[in-house]
Structures are given as C-alpha cells and as structure tokens.
Amino acid sequence: MSTPAILAEDLHKSFGDTHALCGLSLAAEEGTVLGVLGPNGAGKTTAVRILTTLLTPDSGRATVAGLDVERDAAKLRAQIGLAGQYAAVDENLTGKENLEMVGRLYHLGRDVSRTRADELLERFELTDAAKRPAKTYSGGMRRRLDLAAALVARPPVLFLDEPTTGLDPVSRIGMWETIEARTAAGTTVLLTTQYLDEADRLADRIVVIDHGAVIAEGTADELKDRVGGERLEVQLEDGGDTERAVAAIGSVASDTPVVEDGWVRASVASRNGTIAAAVRRLDEQGVGIQDIALRRPTLDDVFITLTGHAAVDDEDVAVEAEGVGA
C-alpha cells in the first residue's frame, strides 16, 4: 500500500501546561478529503500547524506527500497550500497583487504568476474586484481570495483550517461549493471544522478529536451508525404531561426517552409503523403533541455521544489560544 498523502503518528505538543496534542494519529489517502472535527481547543489548529511546518512536534512523526515535516520541511512547503481561519491576505494589495505575490514566492516566475492570478480570480468570481484593495472585500470574498492563494501553485495537498468559521450562511454554502470543485480535481485535502454539517458534506473520512487525540474515525455514516438507529422526536403541547409522554414513547423506543425543552427524544429500532404506534400510545395517555418526526442521527448526536458535550462549546474558546507566544 502506498504511503498516505498526509500521515501523522503519535504527535505530542504542549504549550507550557496545556497539552494541545496527546498522541494524535491520522492519515489521509491521496485524492481524498479528511475532515478533522472537534470543538475549539481540541488541537485541530495545532495539528495543521505541525503538518504545514509552522510548528515542530514535541514527539511523534508526520509526513505530507511522503516528506517529513521536520527533516524535509523546505521541500514539503512546495507541495502544500494553506488557507486558514484568519484569511491571510494583504489588505493593502489588490486581489490580483496578492495572488501574484504568492505566485512569485512559490517561484513560478512573473508571467506564470500573472496568468495564474487571472485564472484564479475568474474561477473564484473575483474578477470584478481584482483591482480593488483586499480591505474593501467582504468576509466571504476574503476567504475566497485566501483559498485562491493556497491554490496558486496547484499543490497536491491542501490544508483548510476552519475555512468557513465566521462566515454568513450564504457565503458558507458558496465556500463549500468552491471546495467541492477543488477536491473533485484530485487534490488531497485536510479540512478542520467545528461544524458537523460541513464535515458531513465535504469529507470522505472524518476523524473526531477531543483533548488532542482522536476519539473516533470513519465515514460520516459509520460514525452515525455508532450512535444507533433512527431518532424519534416529539414536541409536546404547552403544559403537556412529560411523565405520561415518556411512558408512551418508552413503550415504542429502544432506549430511555430524554426530555428537553418540551421535546421528548428516543432511539427506535425501526422506521416501520413507529410514528403511528407512538401517536396511538400518546393518544391513549391523553398527551397532546405539536410535532412528531423520525430522523437520522446527525454528527451532533455523534459528538455528544462520544464526548459527552456538544461540538461548539464557548467555554473552550480560551484554550484556542493554543499557538500564542509559542
């Protein structure tokens, strides 16, 4: 079997008392998208910084395109593109000047850099804004320019560190479409995100990390299967009797129903006849309902099942100061 395009083995990295990575291992086969999913402070950014040679690990080893992140750092950099959550563009330069500069720094030469800049501006729908300083761009336009900069040298491996964090929903979907078009072209991508729907949509395989180590991996479907089958969700009428509702739903569920904010949720073994049975039992108990539905578990359910907390947890934000001053 060939070496994966991205390979990390037992990476450790600490900043003082903060253990950002505690034995992280992951692999992405060539031409696939690996989603790295985890809350703020889980170690996603530290992992990306090590794989892109911005940071050296305390121990463990990693290769990208077969090149060691420490020994072959200089060669490795020619094989990768990096787009991050900071939208690293020079605000005083125009979109075109930014891309030309990056091309020159990849040593593509003046003419190639210029042609490539025009191509990318066109593809990322920035041609109209090409001659405006980047400081006049919207958040979504900056991210597109940042991603375009990462693609200037057509690198075989691309690192996208939370590419849509802070974007409005419309820009996010636009960004997803752009990334999908790129990944269709055979580039290997490592994508970090704290949005489960994003990993679900873009990634071939997902690793879920928490506290600096992988806690689960697989395809989105495999991860969802780990949580169990379908979920039955019932919204009670205001003032509905939750005890009776739990009893009614418990009789059709495969686990103990959970009550939260007027909703009662439980796993069920099969789709067939479940809603009809649930409605009948609720009716027998005299419990009025506003809504009832069956749904596949989302990655949110996966995350809560695996870690005991939700994926986006504001209390963890402080820990994201990971790289600072290191």
Binding site: R49, T52, T53, L54, L55, A74, K75, R77, A78, I80, L82, G84, Y86, A87, A88, V89, D90, E91, N92, L93, E97, M101, V102, R104, L105, Y106, H107, P133, A149, G323, V324, G325, A326
Partner: protein
C-alpha cells in the same frame, strides 16, 4: 534556483509589496515628511535661542542630530508592518511557502531605505531653508548620507525584533517610541554632551547615537573627527549582527 538567488528574488518581491502600501496609506508618509519638518522648526525656533553651541550656529549643530533621530525612527514601519502581518496571519502564510526564511525580514528592512532617503531629502530641504549649510567636500557629504542610511538599516532590524514580539501594531509603535526616544535625546543630537550632568554625560558619550551624530557632523561640517566615522560603521555592523539573527530566530517560531 540557487538559495541566494531565491533569497534575493523573495526579498525584492516582498520589499515591493511593502512599498506598494505607502501611496495607498498616505498617512504613513506623515512620519517621514511632516513630522521631521515640525521637529526642525520647533528646535530651531523654540530651543535654538536658548541652547549654546560654541563654534556653531544652532541650525548647523542641530541638523545632523535631528536627521539621525528621524532615521533612527524610520524603521517603525517595519515594526508596524511585521506586527500587522503576524496578527493577520500573513506570516503563517509566508512561513508555509517554499521561500527564503530571511526574505520577509530583509524585504521589510530594505524597504525602509527609500523611505529614510525620502525623509533625509525633506529634512535637508527644510534645513537649507532654515539656514543650514554643508561645510565640507562632496565626497564626505555623500559618505555622511551613506552612513545615515546604513545606520537606519541597522535600526530597522531592532524594529523588526520589536514588531515580531509585539501583540499588536499599537504596542509595536509604543515600544519602539519608548525605547528609542530617550536614546536619541541622551546623546549629542540636540545639545552638546558637555552640558549634561554626571552620569547622563557618560551615558551620552558612549551612546552609539552620539557616535553617529558626531561622525555626520565631522563629515558635513568638518568638526574634529576622533574615531567617530569608522566607529559608526562598526556600531551599525554590530547592531545588525545582534538583532538580525534574533529577529530571524523569532520569525521562525512566531505565530498568530
């Protein structure tokens, strides 16, 4: 491409990038034009009458000093720019590119040179208008200008280090100002060192700013030279030898 050609090409690309922002942020030019002019006028007309400079008109005494001060501060754009680049994540991008590890800093410090030259021209023009005149031969005047630009380049590396250690451009600016302002005043730039109290006088005598100011006075006004001229060049080399490696080392690990 050889490593050296690569470093040169990367440095030029980045120096160009730094200079492109100047016309787009004309307020930066104020530091190189309006500010030094204001200083010359204030010193010549406010303090000029009160400061005794035996053997000189005050404006002749002042100009080398005030030019050295302006040029010492010229590197502030390097501190400002680097600190901004760190904050905005651009340094991460540069560090992930297959480019020379010294080019970002060399590009910054080199692009300070034309700006320092600009401020030198503006200052000399105001100086001439206020009555300053060279009293030396052409070659020495030019050597004085070369020394000033080299000195400015050395100070740019100090600012590079400040910029890479600052958490924001504002901090970079105030650290630079707080460190360098007293250094320029506790020197022979504005008043004769002999007029200072003990302690301060000894500090001013060994202050490299004094060495450079005295060297420029010698080159432009034919004052006695002592060893100031070659010592000035030595100082510049020493400053670069200390601060450039420190700045490059910091650059390799700095992060957002």
């Amino acid at each position: 491409m050889s490593a050296l050609a690569m470093a040169a090409s990367d440095t030029i690309v980045l120096a160009r990038r730094n200079l492109m922002r100047i016309p787009r942020q004309p307020d930066l030019l104020i530091a190189y034009t309006v500010q030094p002019v204001m200083f010359v006028l204030l010193f010549v007309f406010v303090f000029g009458g009160a400061i005794v400079t035996p053997g000189f008109d005050y404006v002749d005494f002042l100009m080398p000093g005030i030019i050295v001060q302006s040029i010492a501060f010229g590197g502030f754009v390097t501190a400002l720019g680097l600190s901004e680049d760190v904050q905005k994540g651009l340094i991460d991008r540069f560090r992930s590119l297959p480019m020379s590890r010294s080019a970002v800093l060399a590009g910054r410090t080199f692009s300070d040179i034309p700006l320092n030259l600009l401020s030198l021209v503006v200052l000399l023009a105001v100086g001439f208008a206020a009555g300053f005149n060279f009293d030396s031969d052409f070659a020495k005047v030019v050597l004085g200008i070369v020394l000033l630009l080299f000195f400015g380049y050395a100070f740019s590396w100090i600012f590079a280090l400040v910029g890479l250690y600052s958490s924001s451009p504002e901090t970079a600016n105030s650290i630079g100002f707080t460190a360098i302002f007293p250094l320029t005043f506790a020197s022979s730039a504005f008043v004769p060192v002999a007029s200072m109290p003990d302690g301060l006088r000894q500090f001013a005598e060994v202050n490299p700013i004094t060495t450079v100011v005295d060297a420029v006075r010698h080159l432009w006004l034919s004052t006695p030279a002592h060893s100031d001229v070659w010592m000035s060049f030595v100082w510049c080399v020493v400053l670069i030898a200390i601060f450039a490696p420190l700045a490059v080392r910091r650059y390799r690990v700095v992060s957002v």
